[in-house]
């Protein structure tokens, strides 16, 4: 029956997820059976007692015994299901004491993760495999919801309060994090990537912001250049929520053709878009704001590792 589970549920990323799948399938078969107890008699009666002129129907007003049976049996089933669900839920609701704590701040429309060592990422969550990880969440604006389908957990994130959720990932690799509480225009783009990795990789990640970047800088794969790495940063670090690649104006200047251009700043000065300017704009964005744009960009100081900055510069350079 594994195939049926896979048909209906996303991949299971933790032991807890497997338990939920088991429960889901259990309910599926149970409800399927109950469904048949309704539908089979219904269609049998329709055929068996189809209209015949002159057929006289018996006058049966009720049958107490039968009615008690079909009240009590569902009641017992329901009580059993409640306790089954409660058992699974207790596991979800109570985080183990030894869990590593990651702070999540949700905001329209991105996720910020902060690790115990203070390093931060945006829309990019890394956790070590087979470790309990607890997330302490709050929101900056409206209600969001931290949903990791592969882990079968979700919880609302409420402004002005902390909420918690935890899991123990067992499946190495990438998983989707989505926002499951409607939060406006960018609701459906409020994704983050969850990477479950082994301890060594996780330690390295904390040091350098990941291991993946190495593949882009060793020149082995023609499809993995520093500029491609920059594109990955563009998509995962939140750049794309303000900068477009096709020349259309968004909240920030489009990156298309910006490299090497003389831009007019909001104080009337002109500046050449080169490596120094791009670097400064990431670290101290409000220093030189291009005319016609609000100074709304936050500093990415400490958020971007050196390799990521290099990648981004290469990427912008490539957008001629």
């Amino acid at each position: 029956m594994e195939w049926l589970t896979r048909l209906m549920m996303p991949p299971a990323g933790s032991e807890y997820a497997k338990e939920i799948d088991f429960m889901y399938m259990g309910l599926f078969w149970l409800c399927g059976f109950l469904f048949l107890t309704i539908v089979i008699p219904a269609f049998y009666f329709i055929w068996r007692y189809r209209h015949r002129p002159g057929r006289v129907t018996p006058h049966v007003t009720h049958n107490t015994a039968v009615e008690i049976v079909w009240t009590i049996i569902p009641l017992l089933i329901c009580v059993a299901i409640f306790f089954w669900g409660l058992k699974g839920w207790m596991e979800y609701a109570v985080a183990p004491g030894d869990a590593m704590e990651v702070q999540i701040t949700a905001k329209k429309w991105l996720w910020q993760f902060e690790y115990p060592d203070g390093s931060r990422t945006i829309n990019d969550l890394h956790v070590p495999v087979n470790k309990n990880v607890k997330f302490v969440m709050t929101s900056e604006d409206v209600i969001h919801d931290f949903f990791v389908p592969d882990m079968r957990v979700k919880h609302d994130i409420i402004p002005g309060r902390y909420t918690e959720v935890w899991f123990n990932p067992t499946a190495l690799g990438k998983h989707v994090i989505t926002c499951a509480e409607y939060c406006g225009k960018g609701h459906s783009d409020m994704h983050a990537v969850l990477t479950v990795e082994n301890d060594a990789d996780f330690a390295k990640f904390l040091e350098t912001g990941g291991t993946e970047w190495e593949d882009y800088f060793n020149g082995k794969d023609p499809h993995k250049t520093p500029a491609d790495w920059g594109r990955v940063q563009y998509e995962t670090k939140g750049c794309n929520s303000c900068h477009t690649l096709d020349g259309t104006k968004s909240k920030g200047p489009s990156w298309k053709g910006i490299w090497g251009k003389m831009e007019t700043l909001n104080n009337g000065q002109k500046v050449l878009v080169d490596e120094a300017y791009v670097r400064e704009s990431m670290m101290n964005p409000s220093a030189k704001v291009v005319n016609g744009f609000e100074p709304i960009m936050p500093s990415f100081q400490g958020l971007l590792k050196e390799n990521q900055i290099k990648g981004l510069i290469a990427f912008i350079q490539s957008l001629q």
Partner: protein
């Protein structure tokens, strides 16, 4: 009820006269005034949480007097009493289940924490010009420090 009863509105009205009456209403009013005095007096002592309980208990007695005598529910048809009780019953359900939630919840951020939240977050997410999480009163006072 195979034979029709006789009551008419007039008859019924006359019938109702047997209930109530100026004397009963006056006694009710006096009881209500005395209870008001008691509840005011009780409030000047400090019973801790008990004050709320006493005040609401006395209020409920007073409300019952109004409903039973002034609103005639004591003599009225049962259906009206059921409707009245249903109103209060469902209000009770509402209160009870809300408290069930509230009493067990204590994970608030300190109020106005976000006024100075120092999380540098990205861009463009708050409507331009709107400062999130500032205290309106503080804004009115021009940020005057207390």
């Amino acid at each position: 009820m195979s034979h029709p009863a006789e009551p008419t509105a007039i008859h019924d009205a006359a019938h109702e006269h047997e209930h109530g009456g100026t004397g009963v209403y006056a006694k009710t009013l006096i009881a209500l005034l005395i209870l008001t005095a008691i509840t005011v007096a009780a409030a000047s002592f400090d019973f801790g949480q008990g004050n709320v309980v006493i005040a609401l208990f006395i209020a409920t007695i007073k409300a019952s007097l109004v409903v039973l005598f002034f609103m005639h529910l004591r003599w009225d048809k049962p259906v009206n009493a059921i409707i009245a009780m249903a109103g209060f019953l469902f209000l009770g359900i509402f209160i009870l289940f809300c408290l069930l939630d509230f009493d067990a919840r204590n994970n608030y951020l300190p109020s106005n924490l976000h006024a100075v939240a120092d999380v540098p977050l990205a861009p463009g997410t708050a409507p331009a010009g709107e400062v999130l999480h500032t205290n309106p009163a503080a804004a009115a006072e021009g940020g005057e420090k207390k």
